[in-house]
Symmetry: C2
Subunit: 299 residues, 2 copies
Amino acid sequence: MSDKKYTVITGASSGIGYAAAKAFAARGKNLIVTARRETQLASLRDEIMAAHPGVEVVVKTADLSVPENAHRLYDELRAYGIETWVNNAGFGSYGSVAEQNLTKIESILRLNIEALTILSTLFVHDYRDAAGAQLINISSCGGYTIVPTAVTYCATKFYVSAFTEGLAQELIASGAKLRAKVLAPAATATEFGKVANDVETYDYNARFGTYHTAEQMADFLLRLYDNDKILGRVDRETYEFELTDPLLPYAAGSSRNQKCEEEPNKDTIDALYEAEQIVNDPAVVRYTDVEEALKELKR
Amino acid sequence: MSDKKYTVITGASSGIGYAAAKAFAARGKNLIVTARRETQLASLRDEIMAAHPGVEVVVKTADLSVPENAHRLYDELRAYGIETWVNNAGFGSYGSVAEQNLTKIESILRLNIEALTILSTLFVHDYRDAAGAQLINISSCGGYTIVPTAVTYCATKFYVSAFTEGLAQELIASGAKLRAKVLAPAATATEFGKVANDVETYDYNARFGTYHTAEQMADFLLRLYDNDKILGRVDRETYEFELTDPLLPYAAGSSRNQKCEEEPNKDTIDALYEAEQIVNDPAVVRYTDVEEALKELKR
Protein backbone atom coordinates (compact mmCIF):
# COMPACT_ATOMS: atom_id res chain seq x y z
CA MET A 1 0.00 0.00 0.00
CA SER A 2 1.48 3.38 -1.01
CA ASP A 3 1.06 6.52 1.08
CA LYS A 4 -1.55 7.76 -1.37
CA LYS A 5 -4.85 8.49 0.34
CA TYR A 6 -8.37 8.26 -0.99
CA THR A 7 -11.84 9.57 -0.22
CA VAL A 8 -14.54 6.94 -0.69
CA ILE A 9 -18.03 8.11 -1.68
CA THR A 10 -20.91 5.65 -2.04
CA GLY A 11 -23.91 6.53 -4.18
CA ALA A 12 -21.70 8.77 -6.33
CA SER A 13 -23.49 8.26 -9.65
CA SER A 14 -25.82 11.24 -9.09
CA GLY A 15 -27.07 13.82 -6.63
CA ILE A 16 -25.20 14.68 -3.45
CA GLY A 17 -22.65 11.89 -3.99
CA TYR A 18 -21.76 13.11 -7.49
CA ALA A 19 -21.47 16.72 -6.34
CA ALA A 20 -19.49 15.71 -3.25
CA ALA A 21 -17.00 13.78 -5.40
CA LYS A 22 -16.38 16.90 -7.49
CA ALA A 23 -16.05 19.04 -4.36
CA PHE A 24 -13.45 16.72 -2.78
CA ALA A 25 -11.62 16.52 -6.14
CA ALA A 26 -11.45 20.32 -6.26
CA ARG A 27 -9.42 20.04 -3.05
CA GLY A 28 -7.06 17.62 -4.73
CA LYS A 29 -8.43 14.53 -2.96
CA ASN A 30 -8.08 11.19 -4.76
CA LEU A 31 -11.40 9.43 -5.00
CA ILE A 32 -12.93 5.99 -4.95
CA VAL A 33 -16.49 6.38 -6.23
CA THR A 34 -19.06 3.64 -6.06
CA ALA A 35 -22.66 3.09 -7.22
CA ARG A 36 -24.58 0.62 -9.35
CA ARG A 37 -24.42 2.63 -12.60
CA GLU A 38 -21.04 2.38 -14.31
CA THR A 39 -21.82 4.89 -17.09
CA GLN A 40 -22.53 7.71 -14.65
CA LEU A 41 -19.44 6.87 -12.59
CA ALA A 42 -17.31 6.91 -15.76
CA SER A 43 -18.72 10.35 -16.66
CA LEU A 44 -17.91 11.56 -13.16
CA ARG A 45 -14.36 10.23 -13.47
CA ASP A 46 -13.90 11.88 -16.89
CA GLU A 47 -15.30 15.17 -15.63
CA ILE A 48 -13.03 15.19 -12.58
CA MET A 49 -9.89 14.09 -14.42
CA ALA A 50 -10.42 16.78 -17.07
CA ALA A 51 -10.78 19.49 -14.42
CA HIS A 52 -8.14 18.14 -12.01
CA PRO A 53 -5.54 16.10 -13.92
CA GLY A 54 -3.58 15.33 -10.74
CA VAL A 55 -6.52 13.65 -9.03
CA GLU A 56 -6.94 9.89 -9.29
CA VAL A 57 -10.49 8.54 -9.56
CA VAL A 58 -11.12 4.84 -8.97
CA VAL A 59 -14.51 3.53 -10.13
CA LYS A 60 -16.09 0.57 -8.30
CA THR A 61 -19.55 -0.56 -9.32
CA ALA A 62 -21.54 -2.24 -6.56
CA ASP A 63 -25.17 -2.72 -5.59
CA LEU A 64 -24.90 -2.07 -1.87
CA SER A 65 -28.53 -3.01 -1.25
CA VAL A 66 -27.10 -6.56 -1.19
CA PRO A 67 -25.13 -6.75 2.09
CA GLU A 68 -22.63 -9.28 0.70
CA ASN A 69 -21.63 -6.63 -1.84
CA ALA A 70 -20.79 -4.21 0.97
CA HIS A 71 -18.37 -6.77 2.39
CA ARG A 72 -16.92 -7.44 -1.06
CA LEU A 73 -16.47 -3.73 -1.79
CA TYR A 74 -14.63 -3.20 1.48
CA ASP A 75 -12.38 -6.18 0.81
CA GLU A 76 -11.52 -4.79 -2.62
CA LEU A 77 -10.60 -1.46 -1.04
CA ARG A 78 -8.16 -2.98 1.45
CA ALA A 79 -5.47 -2.28 -1.16
CA TYR A 80 -6.02 1.48 -0.77
CA GLY A 81 -5.18 3.90 2.02
CA ILE A 82 -8.41 5.64 2.94
CA GLU A 83 -8.62 9.08 4.49
CA THR A 84 -12.36 9.77 4.40
CA TRP A 85 -15.36 7.50 3.96
CA VAL A 86 -18.72 9.01 3.00
CA ASN A 87 -21.73 6.68 3.26
CA ASN A 88 -24.04 8.61 0.97
CA ALA A 89 -25.87 5.81 -0.90
CA GLY A 90 -29.51 5.64 0.11
CA PHE A 91 -33.03 6.12 -1.14
CA GLY A 92 -36.55 6.70 0.11
CA SER A 93 -40.18 5.92 -0.47
CA TYR A 94 -43.27 8.07 -0.13
CA GLY A 95 -46.61 6.55 0.78
CA SER A 96 -48.41 4.99 3.73
CA VAL A 97 -46.93 2.06 5.63
CA ALA A 98 -50.11 0.07 4.87
CA GLU A 99 -49.58 0.42 1.13
CA GLN A 100 -45.80 0.34 0.92
CA ASN A 101 -44.08 -2.07 -1.45
CA LEU A 102 -42.06 -4.43 0.72
CA THR A 103 -39.61 -5.34 -2.04
CA LYS A 104 -38.66 -1.68 -2.30
CA ILE A 105 -38.72 -1.20 1.49
CA GLU A 106 -36.45 -4.19 2.11
CA SER A 107 -33.94 -2.74 -0.38
CA ILE A 108 -34.07 0.57 1.46
CA LEU A 109 -33.46 -1.13 4.81
CA ARG A 110 -30.49 -3.05 3.45
CA LEU A 111 -28.92 -0.05 1.75
CA ASN A 112 -29.69 2.78 4.20
CA ILE A 113 -29.07 0.69 7.33
CA GLU A 114 -27.29 -2.60 6.73
CA ALA A 115 -24.67 -1.54 4.15
CA LEU A 116 -23.99 1.67 6.08
CA THR A 117 -23.46 -0.32 9.28
CA ILE A 118 -21.19 -2.90 7.64
CA LEU A 119 -19.03 -0.27 5.92
CA SER A 120 -18.88 2.00 8.98
CA THR A 121 -17.89 -0.89 11.25
CA LEU A 122 -15.15 -2.19 8.95
CA PHE A 123 -13.76 1.31 8.33
CA VAL A 124 -13.78 2.24 12.03
CA HIS A 125 -12.18 -1.10 12.92
CA ASP A 126 -9.26 -0.46 10.57
CA TYR A 127 -8.83 3.32 10.79
CA ARG A 128 -9.81 4.37 14.32
CA ASP A 129 -6.20 5.30 15.13
CA ALA A 130 -5.53 7.10 11.83
CA ALA A 131 -5.04 10.83 12.42
CA GLY A 132 -7.24 12.90 10.12
CA ALA A 133 -9.49 9.99 9.15
CA GLN A 134 -13.19 10.79 8.93
CA LEU A 135 -16.39 8.80 8.50
CA ILE A 136 -19.32 10.91 7.31
CA ASN A 137 -22.76 9.28 7.18
CA ILE A 138 -25.56 11.00 5.31
CA SER A 139 -28.74 11.04 7.36
CA SER A 140 -31.61 13.48 6.78
CA CYS A 141 -33.80 16.00 8.58
CA GLY A 142 -36.09 12.99 8.53
CA GLY A 143 -33.58 11.33 10.85
CA TYR A 144 -34.53 13.85 13.55
CA THR A 145 -38.18 14.56 12.70
CA ILE A 146 -40.67 11.98 11.43
CA VAL A 147 -42.28 13.17 8.19
CA PRO A 148 -45.83 11.98 7.38
CA THR A 149 -46.01 9.76 4.25
CA ALA A 150 -42.29 8.97 4.65
CA VAL A 151 -42.39 7.08 7.95
CA THR A 152 -40.26 4.06 7.07
CA TYR A 153 -37.64 6.17 5.27
CA CYS A 154 -37.45 8.52 8.27
CA ALA A 155 -37.06 5.53 10.61
CA THR A 156 -34.03 4.38 8.57
CA LYS A 157 -32.57 7.86 8.99
CA PHE A 158 -33.27 7.88 12.75
CA TYR A 159 -31.15 4.72 12.73
CA VAL A 160 -28.36 6.51 10.84
CA SER A 161 -28.47 9.53 13.17
CA ALA A 162 -28.45 7.44 16.36
CA PHE A 163 -25.80 5.02 15.09
CA THR A 164 -23.46 7.77 13.91
CA GLU A 165 -23.95 10.18 16.82
CA GLY A 166 -23.37 7.28 19.22
CA LEU A 167 -20.32 6.08 17.30
CA ALA A 168 -18.88 9.61 17.15
CA GLN A 169 -19.07 9.94 20.92
CA GLU A 170 -17.78 6.41 21.51
CA LEU A 171 -14.72 7.17 19.35
CA ILE A 172 -13.95 10.39 21.24
CA ALA A 173 -14.42 8.66 24.62
CA SER A 174 -12.06 5.84 23.60
CA GLY A 175 -9.31 8.23 22.50
CA ALA A 176 -9.59 7.22 18.84
CA LYS A 177 -8.26 9.62 16.21
CA LEU A 178 -10.93 8.85 13.60
CA ARG A 179 -13.89 11.23 13.70
CA ALA A 180 -17.45 10.19 12.79
CA LYS A 181 -19.96 12.82 11.64
CA VAL A 182 -23.56 13.08 10.44
CA LEU A 183 -24.90 15.25 7.62
CA ALA A 184 -28.67 15.85 7.72
CA PRO A 185 -29.95 17.47 4.51
CA ALA A 186 -33.51 18.68 3.96
CA ALA A 187 -35.07 18.49 0.48
CA THR A 188 -32.26 18.49 -2.09
CA ALA A 189 -32.92 18.43 -5.83
CA THR A 190 -31.54 15.03 -6.83
CA GLU A 191 -32.98 11.78 -8.17
CA PHE A 192 -34.38 11.19 -4.67
CA GLY A 193 -37.81 12.62 -5.59
CA LYS A 194 -38.22 10.40 -8.66
CA VAL A 195 -37.13 7.24 -6.88
CA ALA A 196 -39.09 7.89 -3.69
CA ASN A 197 -42.29 8.53 -5.66
CA ASP A 198 -41.76 5.91 -8.40
CA VAL A 199 -42.18 8.50 -11.16
CA GLU A 200 -40.24 9.31 -14.33
CA THR A 201 -40.14 13.06 -13.79
CA TYR A 202 -40.21 15.07 -10.59
CA ASP A 203 -40.44 18.82 -10.13
CA TYR A 204 -38.77 20.06 -6.92
CA ASN A 205 -40.18 23.55 -7.56
CA ALA A 206 -43.75 22.26 -7.60
CA ARG A 207 -43.38 19.62 -4.91
CA PHE A 208 -41.16 21.46 -2.43
CA GLY A 209 -40.65 25.05 -3.56
CA THR A 210 -37.78 25.44 -1.11
CA TYR A 211 -34.85 23.04 -1.44
CA HIS A 212 -31.10 22.93 -1.87
CA THR A 213 -29.14 21.91 -4.93
CA ALA A 214 -26.77 18.94 -4.74
CA GLU A 215 -23.88 21.41 -5.13
CA GLN A 216 -25.05 23.43 -2.11
CA MET A 217 -25.30 20.23 -0.10
CA ALA A 218 -21.78 19.17 -1.16
CA ASP A 219 -20.59 22.55 0.09
CA PHE A 220 -22.30 21.92 3.45
CA LEU A 221 -20.65 18.49 3.53
CA LEU A 222 -17.22 20.11 3.16
CA ARG A 223 -18.05 22.62 5.90
CA LEU A 224 -18.83 19.67 8.18
CA TYR A 225 -15.62 17.94 7.01
CA ASP A 226 -13.59 21.04 7.94
CA ASN A 227 -15.20 21.43 11.35
CA ASP A 228 -14.92 19.61 14.68
CA LYS A 229 -18.68 19.46 15.23
CA ILE A 230 -20.31 16.05 14.90
CA LEU A 231 -23.53 17.12 13.18
CA GLY A 232 -24.19 19.30 10.14
CA ARG A 233 -27.91 19.81 9.67
CA VAL A 234 -30.30 21.80 7.56
CA ASP A 235 -33.13 23.29 9.60
CA ARG A 236 -36.24 21.83 8.02
CA GLU A 237 -38.25 25.04 8.44
CA THR A 238 -35.69 27.81 7.73
CA TYR A 239 -33.37 25.84 5.41
CA GLU A 240 -30.39 27.31 7.29
CA PHE A 241 -27.37 25.01 7.60
CA GLU A 242 -25.78 24.71 11.02
CA LEU A 243 -22.89 22.77 12.54
CA THR A 244 -23.82 21.49 16.00
CA ASP A 245 -23.18 19.02 18.77
CA PRO A 246 -25.18 15.77 18.64
CA LEU A 247 -28.93 16.23 19.13
CA LEU A 248 -30.08 12.84 20.39
CA PRO A 249 -29.99 12.02 24.12
CA TYR A 250 -26.83 10.11 25.07
CA ALA A 251 -26.57 8.34 28.43
CA ALA A 252 -22.86 8.86 29.08
CA GLY A 253 -21.90 7.99 32.64
CA SER A 254 -25.44 7.08 33.74
CA SER A 255 -25.53 4.87 36.83
CA ARG A 256 -28.29 2.99 35.01
CA ASN A 257 -25.92 1.67 32.32
CA GLN A 258 -24.78 -1.94 32.44
CA LYS A 259 -21.85 -2.18 34.85
CA CYS A 260 -18.58 -3.77 33.82
CA GLU A 261 -18.10 -7.35 34.86
CA GLU A 262 -16.90 -7.68 38.44
CA GLU A 263 -13.12 -7.59 38.37
CA PRO A 264 -10.99 -9.22 41.10
CA ASN A 265 -10.58 -6.93 44.10
CA LYS A 266 -7.28 -4.97 44.08
CA ASP A 267 -6.31 -6.27 47.55
CA THR A 268 -6.78 -9.83 46.33
CA ILE A 269 -4.63 -9.15 43.27
CA ASP A 270 -1.91 -7.57 45.45
CA ALA A 271 -1.96 -10.52 47.85
CA LEU A 272 -1.70 -13.04 45.01
CA TYR A 273 1.15 -11.06 43.46
CA GLU A 274 3.02 -10.96 46.77
CA ALA A 275 2.49 -14.69 47.30
CA GLU A 276 3.83 -15.39 43.81
CA GLN A 277 6.95 -13.31 44.51
CA ILE A 278 7.62 -15.19 47.75
CA VAL A 279 7.17 -18.55 46.04
CA ASN A 280 9.59 -17.61 43.28
CA ASP A 281 12.22 -16.01 45.55
CA PRO A 282 15.25 -18.38 45.79
CA ALA A 283 16.40 -16.59 49.00
CA VAL A 284 13.29 -17.71 50.86
CA VAL A 285 14.00 -20.60 53.23
CA ARG A 286 11.51 -23.42 52.90
CA TYR A 287 10.40 -25.49 55.88
CA THR A 288 8.72 -28.83 55.42
CA ASP A 289 8.03 -29.13 59.14
CA VAL A 290 5.46 -26.67 60.52
CA GLU A 291 6.79 -26.76 64.12
CA GLU A 292 10.28 -25.94 62.96
CA ALA A 293 8.96 -23.03 60.89
CA LEU A 294 7.03 -21.63 63.87
CA LYS A 295 10.11 -21.88 66.07
CA GLU A 296 12.12 -19.98 63.44
CA LEU A 297 9.36 -17.33 63.24
CA LYS A 298 9.35 -16.78 67.03
CA ARG A 299 13.10 -16.34 67.15
CA MET B 1 -61.78 -18.31 8.68
CA SER B 2 -63.86 -18.59 11.85
CA ASP B 3 -64.66 -15.62 14.09
CA LYS B 4 -62.06 -16.82 16.56
CA LYS B 5 -59.42 -14.19 17.23
CA TYR B 6 -55.78 -14.57 18.13
CA THR B 7 -52.97 -12.57 19.69
CA VAL B 8 -49.64 -13.11 17.92
CA ILE B 9 -46.45 -12.76 19.98
CA THR B 10 -43.02 -13.10 18.37
CA GLY B 11 -40.01 -14.03 20.47
CA ALA B 12 -42.29 -15.89 22.87
CA SER B 13 -39.86 -18.64 23.92
CA SER B 14 -38.52 -16.63 26.87
CA GLY B 15 -38.43 -13.28 28.61
CA ILE B 16 -41.00 -10.57 27.93
CA GLY B 17 -42.61 -12.56 25.10
CA TYR B 18 -43.14 -15.63 27.29
CA ALA B 19 -44.55 -13.56 30.16
CA ALA B 20 -46.73 -11.54 27.78
CA ALA B 21 -48.21 -14.73 26.31
CA LYS B 22 -49.22 -15.87 29.80
CA ALA B 23 -50.65 -12.44 30.60
CA PHE B 24 -52.81 -12.35 27.45
CA ALA B 25 -53.88 -15.97 28.11
CA ALA B 26 -55.01 -14.97 31.62
CA ARG B 27 -57.43 -12.63 29.85
CA GLY B 28 -58.76 -15.51 27.79
CA LYS B 29 -56.98 -14.48 24.58
CA ASN B 30 -56.13 -17.21 22.10
CA LEU B 31 -52.49 -17.12 21.16
CA ILE B 32 -50.14 -17.71 18.27
CA VAL B 33 -46.65 -17.87 19.72
CA THR B 34 -43.53 -17.88 17.60
CA ALA B 35 -39.77 -18.17 18.16
CA ARG B 36 -36.92 -20.41 17.00
CA ARG B 37 -37.01 -22.81 19.96
CA GLU B 38 -39.85 -25.32 19.73
CA THR B 39 -39.24 -26.91 23.14
CA GLN B 40 -39.74 -23.63 25.00
CA LEU B 41 -42.82 -22.80 22.95
CA ALA B 42 -44.28 -26.23 23.71
CA SER B 43 -43.67 -25.66 27.45
CA LEU B 44 -45.38 -22.30 27.18
CA ARG B 45 -48.35 -23.89 25.42
CA ASP B 46 -48.59 -26.65 28.05
CA GLU B 47 -48.34 -24.15 30.89
CA ILE B 48 -51.05 -21.93 29.42
CA MET B 49 -53.42 -24.74 28.48
CA ALA B 50 -53.11 -26.23 31.99
CA ALA B 51 -53.95 -22.89 33.61
CA HIS B 52 -56.55 -21.76 31.04
CA PRO B 53 -58.15 -24.79 29.37
CA GLY B 54 -60.37 -22.60 27.19
CA VAL B 55 -57.47 -20.79 25.58
CA GLU B 56 -56.06 -22.05 22.29
CA VAL B 57 -52.29 -21.80 21.79
CA VAL B 58 -50.86 -22.21 18.30
CA VAL B 59 -47.09 -22.80 18.12
CA LYS B 60 -45.16 -21.62 15.04
CA THR B 61 -41.40 -22.01 15.00
CA ALA B 62 -39.58 -19.48 12.84
CA ASP B 63 -36.19 -17.80 12.72
CA LEU B 64 -37.28 -14.26 11.95
CA SER B 65 -33.71 -13.03 11.52
CA VAL B 66 -34.16 -14.42 7.99
CA PRO B 67 -36.58 -11.97 6.29
CA GLU B 68 -38.06 -14.65 4.01
CA ASN B 69 -39.22 -16.44 7.16
CA ALA B 70 -41.15 -13.35 8.24
CA HIS B 71 -43.04 -13.44 4.94
CA ARG B 72 -43.63 -17.19 5.28
CA LEU B 73 -44.88 -16.85 8.87
CA TYR B 74 -47.34 -14.15 7.87
CA ASP B 75 -48.60 -16.25 4.96
CA GLU B 76 -49.15 -19.20 7.29
CA LEU B 77 -51.16 -16.97 9.62
CA ARG B 78 -53.54 -15.77 6.91
CA ALA B 79 -55.80 -18.65 7.98
CA TYR B 80 -56.31 -17.02 11.40
CA GLY B 81 -58.23 -13.94 12.47
CA ILE B 82 -55.78 -11.74 14.33
CA GLU B 83 -56.74 -9.23 16.99
CA THR B 84 -53.37 -8.13 18.34
CA TRP B 85 -49.85 -8.45 16.95
CA VAL B 86 -46.88 -8.01 19.28
CA ASN B 87 -43.47 -7.72 17.60
CA ASN B 88 -41.36 -8.64 20.59
CA ALA B 89 -38.56 -10.72 19.01
CA GLY B 90 -35.24 -8.91 19.15
CA PHE B 91 -31.80 -9.03 20.67
CA GLY B 92 -28.84 -6.79 21.40
CA SER B 93 -25.08 -6.63 21.55
CA TYR B 94 -22.77 -4.87 23.97
CA GLY B 95 -19.36 -3.63 22.86
CA SER B 96 -17.78 -0.94 20.71
CA VAL B 97 -18.78 -0.46 17.07
CA ALA B 98 -15.13 -0.94 16.09
CA GLU B 99 -15.04 -4.41 17.64
CA GLN B 100 -18.57 -5.59 16.96
CA ASN B 101 -19.15 -8.94 15.27
CA LEU B 102 -20.86 -8.18 11.97
CA THR B 103 -22.45 -11.62 11.66
CA LYS B 104 -24.24 -10.99 14.94
CA ILE B 105 -24.99 -7.36 14.05
CA GLU B 106 -26.50 -8.28 10.68
CA SER B 107 -28.79 -10.77 12.44
CA ILE B 108 -29.85 -8.04 14.85
CA LEU B 109 -30.62 -5.64 12.00
CA ARG B 110 -32.68 -8.24 10.18
CA LEU B 111 -34.64 -9.28 13.25
CA ASN B 112 -35.07 -5.98 15.13
CA ILE B 113 -35.70 -3.90 11.99
CA GLU B 114 -36.44 -5.90 8.85
CA ALA B 115 -38.72 -8.62 10.26
CA LEU B 116 -40.54 -6.05 12.41
CA THR B 117 -41.11 -3.85 9.35
CA ILE B 118 -42.31 -6.73 7.16
CA LEU B 119 -44.73 -8.07 9.78
CA SER B 120 -46.00 -4.61 10.77
CA THR B 121 -46.61 -3.65 7.13
CA LEU B 122 -48.47 -6.86 6.25
CA PHE B 123 -50.57 -6.73 9.43
CA VAL B 124 -51.46 -3.05 8.98
CA HIS B 125 -52.29 -3.64 5.31
CA ASP B 126 -54.79 -6.37 6.21
CA TYR B 127 -56.21 -5.13 9.52
CA ARG B 128 -56.20 -1.32 9.41
CA ASP B 129 -60.00 -1.22 9.33
CA ALA B 130 -60.51 -3.87 12.02
CA ALA B 131 -62.04 -2.34 15.15
CA GLY B 132 -60.06 -3.26 18.25
CA ALA B 133 -57.01 -4.45 16.34
CA GLN B 134 -53.64 -3.46 17.81
CA LEU B 135 -50.02 -3.64 16.72
CA ILE B 136 -47.57 -3.33 19.61
CA ASN B 137 -43.87 -3.07 18.79
CA ILE B 138 -41.30 -3.54 21.53
CA SER B 139 -38.67 -0.83 21.41
CA SER B 140 -36.46 0.12 24.38
CA CYS B 141 -35.36 3.10 26.45
CA GLY B 142 -32.40 2.73 24.12
CA GLY B 143 -34.78 3.71 21.33
CA TYR B 144 -35.01 7.19 22.87
CA THR B 145 -31.58 7.57 24.48
CA ILE B 146 -28.32 6.25 23.01
CA VAL B 147 -26.52 4.06 25.54
CA PRO B 148 -22.70 3.87 25.36
CA THR B 149 -21.40 0.36 24.47
CA ALA B 150 -24.78 -0.46 22.93
CA VAL B 151 -24.80 2.02 20.05
CA THR B 152 -25.89 -0.24 17.20
CA TYR B 153 -28.59 -1.93 19.29
CA CYS B 154 -29.92 1.48 20.35
CA ALA B 155 -29.95 2.63 16.72
CA THR B 156 -32.16 -0.37 15.83
CA LYS B 157 -34.51 0.69 18.61
CA PHE B 158 -34.53 4.33 17.44
CA TYR B 159 -35.73 2.81 14.16
CA VAL B 160 -38.50 0.90 15.96
CA SER B 161 -39.58 3.98 17.93
CA ALA B 162 -39.65 6.27 14.89
CA PHE B 163 -41.31 3.69 12.64
CA THR B 164 -44.02 2.84 15.15
CA GLU B 165 -44.70 6.36 16.43
CA GLY B 166 -44.95 7.55 12.81
CA LEU B 167 -47.19 4.64 11.83
CA ALA B 168 -49.44 5.20 14.87
CA GLN B 169 -50.03 8.81 13.88
CA GLU B 170 -50.45 7.95 10.19
CA LEU B 171 -53.16 5.41 11.10
CA ILE B 172 -55.05 7.91 13.24
CA ALA B 173 -54.78 10.62 10.55
CA SER B 174 -56.12 8.23 7.90
CA GLY B 175 -59.15 7.22 9.98
CA ALA B 176 -57.95 3.63 10.39
CA LYS B 177 -59.35 1.60 13.28
CA LEU B 178 -56.15 -0.34 13.98
CA ARG B 179 -53.96 1.24 16.67
CA ALA B 180 -50.16 1.00 16.68
CA LYS B 181 -48.24 1.38 19.95
CA VAL B 182 -44.67 1.29 21.26
CA LEU B 183 -43.45 -0.30 24.49
CA ALA B 184 -40.04 0.93 25.68
CA PRO B 185 -38.66 -1.19 28.54
CA ALA B 186 -35.49 -0.42 30.49
CA ALA B 187 -33.33 -3.26 31.82
CA THR B 188 -35.54 -6.35 32.22
CA ALA B 189 -34.22 -9.63 33.61
CA THR B 190 -34.47 -11.93 30.59
CA GLU B 191 -32.03 -13.78 28.34
CA PHE B 192 -31.18 -10.38 26.82
CA GLY B 193 -28.13 -9.91 29.07
CA LYS B 194 -26.61 -13.29 28.20
CA VAL B 195 -27.16 -12.90 24.47
CA ALA B 196 -26.03 -9.26 24.30
CA ASN B 197 -22.81 -10.06 26.16
CA ASP B 198 -22.15 -13.50 24.62
CA VAL B 199 -21.92 -15.14 28.04
CA GLU B 200 -23.39 -18.30 29.56
CA THR B 201 -24.54 -16.71 32.80
CA TYR B 202 -25.57 -13.14 33.53
CA ASP B 203 -26.41 -11.53 36.84
CA TYR B 204 -28.89 -8.64 36.56
CA ASN B 205 -28.34 -7.81 40.23
CA ALA B 206 -24.62 -7.32 39.71
CA ARG B 207 -24.77 -5.75 36.27
CA PHE B 208 -27.79 -3.49 36.69
CA GLY B 209 -28.99 -3.56 40.29
CA THR B 210 -32.26 -1.93 39.27
CA TYR B 211 -34.36 -3.72 36.64
CA HIS B 212 -37.82 -5.10 36.02
CA THR B 213 -38.86 -8.73 35.81
CA ALA B 214 -40.38 -10.05 32.59
CA GLU B 215 -43.68 -10.41 34.47
CA GLN B 216 -43.65 -6.73 35.47
CA MET B 217 -42.95 -5.79 31.86
CA ALA B 218 -45.82 -7.99 30.63
CA ASP B 219 -48.05 -6.13 33.07
CA PHE B 220 -46.87 -2.79 31.62
CA LEU B 221 -47.58 -4.17 28.14
CA LEU B 222 -51.18 -4.90 29.15
CA ARG B 223 -51.53 -1.42 30.63
CA LEU B 224 -50.45 -0.02 27.26
CA TYR B 225 -52.83 -2.43 25.51
CA ASP B 226 -55.73 -1.17 27.65
CA ASN B 227 -54.91 2.50 27.10
CA ASP B 228 -55.31 4.93 24.19
CA LYS B 229 -51.81 6.36 24.55
CA ILE B 230 -49.32 5.44 21.83
CA LEU B 231 -46.23 5.01 24.01
CA GLY B 232 -45.61 3.06 27.20
CA ARG B 233 -42.13 3.73 28.50
CA VAL B 234 -39.99 3.00 31.51
CA ASP B 235 -38.06 6.05 32.67
CA ARG B 236 -34.44 4.96 32.45
CA GLU B 237 -33.43 6.83 35.61
CA THR B 238 -36.45 6.37 37.93
CA TYR B 239 -37.72 3.04 36.54
CA GLU B 240 -41.26 4.45 36.67
CA PHE B 241 -43.61 3.25 33.91
CA GLU B 242 -45.66 5.90 32.14
CA LEU B 243 -48.18 5.97 29.30
CA THR B 244 -47.58 8.99 27.08
CA ASP B 245 -48.06 10.63 23.72
CA PRO B 246 -45.31 10.04 21.14
CA LEU B 247 -41.96 11.58 22.07
CA LEU B 248 -40.22 12.01 18.72
CA PRO B 249 -40.77 15.17 16.63
CA TYR B 250 -43.46 14.66 13.97
CA ALA B 251 -43.85 17.14 11.11
CA ALA B 252 -47.63 16.93 10.69
CA GLY B 253 -48.96 19.69 8.46
CA SER B 254 -45.58 21.35 7.88
CA SER B 255 -45.49 23.53 4.77
CA ARG B 256 -42.05 22.00 4.19
CA ASN B 257 -43.48 18.54 3.49
CA GLN B 258 -43.67 17.25 -0.07
CA LYS B 259 -46.84 18.63 -1.67
CA CYS B 260 -49.35 16.34 -3.35
CA GLU B 261 -49.17 16.05 -7.10
CA GLU B 262 -51.14 18.74 -8.93
CA GLU B 263 -54.67 17.44 -9.38
CA PRO B 264 -56.96 18.57 -12.25
CA ASN B 265 -58.70 21.85 -11.47
CA LYS B 266 -62.27 21.42 -10.14
CA ASP B 267 -63.70 23.72 -12.85
CA THR B 268 -62.09 21.55 -15.52
CA ILE B 269 -63.55 18.40 -13.97
CA ASP B 270 -67.04 20.02 -13.77
CA ALA B 271 -66.84 21.14 -17.42
CA LEU B 272 -65.80 17.67 -18.59
CA TYR B 273 -68.61 16.10 -16.56
CA GLU B 274 -71.19 18.49 -18.06
CA ALA B 275 -69.90 17.82 -21.58
CA GLU B 276 -70.19 14.08 -20.98
CA GLN B 277 -73.78 14.45 -19.80
CA ILE B 278 -74.73 16.45 -22.91
CA VAL B 279 -73.09 13.90 -25.20
CA ASN B 280 -74.97 11.04 -23.56
CA ASP B 281 -78.36 12.79 -23.39
CA PRO B 282 -80.69 11.23 -26.06
CA ALA B 283 -82.93 14.35 -25.92
CA VAL B 284 -80.16 16.55 -27.27
CA VAL B 285 -80.67 17.38 -30.97
CA ARG B 286 -77.53 16.84 -33.04
CA TYR B 287 -76.66 19.04 -36.00
CA THR B 288 -74.17 17.94 -38.59
CA ASP B 289 -74.28 21.32 -40.34
CA VAL B 290 -72.77 24.21 -38.35
CA GLU B 291 -74.82 26.94 -40.12
CA GLU B 292 -78.06 25.15 -39.36
CA ALA B 293 -77.04 24.78 -35.71
CA LEU B 294 -76.26 28.49 -35.41
CA LYS B 295 -79.61 29.40 -36.99
CA GLU B 296 -81.36 27.16 -34.44
CA LEU B 297 -79.37 28.77 -31.61
CA LYS B 298 -80.36 32.32 -32.68
CA ARG B 299 -84.01 31.43 -32.81
